[in-house]
């Protein structure tokens, strides 16, 4: 599935169109096209309801019900089977949801470790070590053994970010990943992201309403009414 595209491109989005059919058929994405370079820190802004989250779900490979094409690291992902996509996601894409979803019965540490255990590339000890490192990066090492449902909203959001980092994915996507954070923590997360992009070549795509955040990124694209302006 390797395509002969430019190898410096992390993401190629071509003419993505998406409809919702409930309650009535309505076009959310009206032909979105853009590229993201490897190691680029990109932000997406736009009015509420303009289709940012919808676009991000398409980019994350979870939503397959769209027209147009999506390639990540030169792999054409449009039309792939669900199982192929979930394996791909596990290895290459880290995702921070708009509403930070953790598994409430697991500790913060276990939540961070799960994607790595699923990937199975490292031993349990290495995974635990890496998970601790991720948590430390987000100033959460003292919360590691708390179960997720006993953490504050901001702490949960940071655990979700730590979880998105654990497999060192080539692309990290966040849907308002700092929405619940105070400015100090928000800045810390932005620093982490910029560092990952510039030092480790990981590609970061974040939807945000925070103009300071957007200014802090390499490039900002704006959405309005299902289109990039």
């Amino acid at each position: 599935m390797k395509t002969d595209h430019d190898h410096t491109k992390a993401l190629e989005v071509k003419n993505v169109v998406k409809y919702f059919h409930d309650p009535s058929t309505f076009q959310v994405l009206k032909g979105v096209s853009f590229d993201v370079q490897k190691g680029e820190f990109l932000s997406i802004i736009g009015k509420s309801g303009s289709g940012k989250s919808t676009l991000l779900y398409v980019l994350s490979t979870m939503d397959t019900d769209y027209e147009g094409t999506l390639s990540v690291n030169g792999h054409l992902l449009t039309g792939q089977a669900q199982n192929t996509l979930s394996t791909f996601r596990n290895e290459h894409i880290g995702f921070v949801f708009q509403f930070h979803y953790l598994l409430p019965e697991f500790t913060a540490l276990e939540n961070v470790m799960l994607p790595a255990k699923k990937l199975g590339r490292f031993s349990l000890e290495e995974i635990e070590h890496n998970a601790y490192e991720s948590l430390r990066l987000l100033d959460l090492e003292d919360q590691a053994m708390k179960s997720a449902n006993k953490l504050s909203g901001g702490q949960q959001q940071r655990v979700a970010i730590a979880r998105a980092l654990i497999n060192s994915p080539s692309v990290i996507m966040g849907d308002e990943p700092t929405g619940n954070l105070d400015s100090k923590n928000s800045l810390a997360v932005q620093d982490i992201f910029r560092n990952l992009a510039h030092e480790f070549g990981q590609t970061i795509i974040c939807v945000t309403h925070d103009n300071d955040f957007a200014r802090n990124t390499d490039r900002t694209i704006e959405m309005a009414d299902g289109l990039i302006v």
């Binding site: 979870m62 199982n83 509403f99 598994l103 019965e105 799960l114 590339r121």
Partner: protein
């Protein structure tokens, strides 16, 4: 290596699910426990009842009984001696109806002994008599028996409450008498009793034993003597008997034996199935009831598990979506929930076995003193334990599979988008 780690994480998630909602897991396990234990108890109890019934029945019923009654009542001696075309006229047919007994016992027995399925053969010479003691006169029957083989077939020696069964071998005029019959005649050990046959033959015997079987009718009317003495009393030779009784190693093979020997044995052969159709029917009906009840129980248990698994999956729908978003595939989700169901099945099955044996052995201690029983009968069969486990786990897995499949098909975006 990589694959193994993947499986571990699914198992780990399953075990967190099971342990974080302990009461729910416990209720699901208890459902299986109850189903499996009831299955074991019902079947062991029915087996016990069937076995008790059989023991009772076969304490005086042979697997095959050969005699010369009824079937050959229209036996016509003329056709034996003259060609079939001979015209004849029989007057007063009653006079020639005395061909009721087996005259070639040794020959019949040697035919039977060639059958490898046969475990035991014994001959009897039974006839009706009046027992007379003092002024009392009671109608009953004498059974002339082959002392050793009769005991081997029916365990007669263990039923003799006074005296010794084997003494029939040594005391030619000795008689072992039914307990109630002895009481009614006012007889004790070593007393004398007179018998009178229908042909008017009278003979004195001395009581060398008293027997108590589990059948009241026998205790009230029968006495046993040595078959040789019986032949002497009736003036018959050594080859003469009224019944030949046959036992098999496997009593379900009676039809086969009858088919094999029918051509060589001219007498009527009656299998225990024919003689006791109600016995067969009763035990089959009990088995059907046991199976129906146990399946109903397992079905209810399965439905309970289905509900609990469904509930769990509805509660965890967000978490399933998150797992999928993180890269867990549909088959991982299926694996997680099937693991949960299997653990519930295994734990429920194991505790069900223990509880089933517990209930059964308690019931086995309940006094029940009827017809030779002392407590309610229980009989364990390995097959019941195995099928209880198999059905228990199968029910759980099927009941868990349907919700698990639903979970594996969840579309994460639909849930996460809200």
């Amino acid at each position: 290596m990589r694959r193994k780690r993947k499986n571990n994480v699914n198992k780990q998630i399953a075990s967190v699910h099971l342990t974080s909602k302990k009461w729910q897991t416990a209720v699901a396990i208890l459902g299986v426990t109850f189903g499996v234990s009831m299955y074991i108890f019902m079947n062991s109890f029915m087996n016990g009842v069937n076995k008790a019934q059989d023991d009772l029945a076969f304490s005086n019923l042979a697997h095959i009984r050969i005699d010369n009654e009824s079937e050959k009542r229209d036996y016509n001696p003329v056709s034996d001696k003259f060609p079939a075309s001979t015209l004849f006229n029989i007057r007063d047919k009653k006079d020639i109806q005395s061909e009721n007994d087996i005259k070639n016992t040794t020959e019949v027995m040697s035919v039977l002994k060639k059958q490898s399925e046969i475990s035991n053969i014994t001959a009897q010479l039974n006839f009706s008599v009046f027992f007379r003691s003092g002024s009392k006169k009671i109608n009953g029957s004498i059974s002339g028996v082959d002392v050793e083989n009769e005991n081997r077939m029916f365990g007669s020696a263990s039923k003799v409450i006074t005296g010794k069964w084997d003494d029939l071998n040594f005391q030619k005029s000795g008689l072992i008498i039914g307990k109630t019959l002895a009481e009614n005649l006012g007889l004790k050990l070593n007393d004398n009793v007179n018998i009178l046959t229908s042909d008017g033959i009278s003979k004195n015997f001395s009581v060398i034993g008293i027997i108590e079987t589990s059948v009241k009718e026998i205790d009230r009317s029968r006495a046993y003597i040595n078959i040789n003495t019986a032949r002497q009393v009736l003036g018959k030779n050594f080859d003469y008997s009224s019944d030949i009784l046959v036992n098999l190693y496997d009593r379900n093979k009676t039809d086969q034996i009858v088919a094999n020997t029918k051509s060589a044995i001219k007498y009527k052969m009656e299998t225990w199935q024919e003689a006791n159709q109600q016995l067969l029917a009763a035990s089959q009906l009990r088995n059907i009831i046991a199976i129906a009840v146990s399946f109903a129980i397992l079905l209810v248990a399965g439905f309970g598990i289905y509900n609990i698994m469904n509930m769990t999956i509805n509660e965890k729908i967000r978490e399933i979506a998150i797992l999928k978003a993180m890269g867990f595939a549909g088959k991982d989700i299926l694996n997680i929930f099937l693991t949960q169901a299997s653990i519930i099945g295994l734990l429920g099955g194991a505790t069900g076995l223990i509880l089933g044996v517990g209930i059964s052995s308690l019931v086995n201690r309940v006094p029940f003193k009827v017809a030779g029983l002392t407590t309610l009968p229980i009989n364990y069969h390995t097959i019941d334990f195995m099928s209880a486990i198999v059905f228990g786990i199968l029910t759980t897995i099927i009941a868990g599979y349907l919700p698990a499949r639903k979970a594996s098909k969840i579309d994460p975006v639909l849930i996460i988008r809200g």
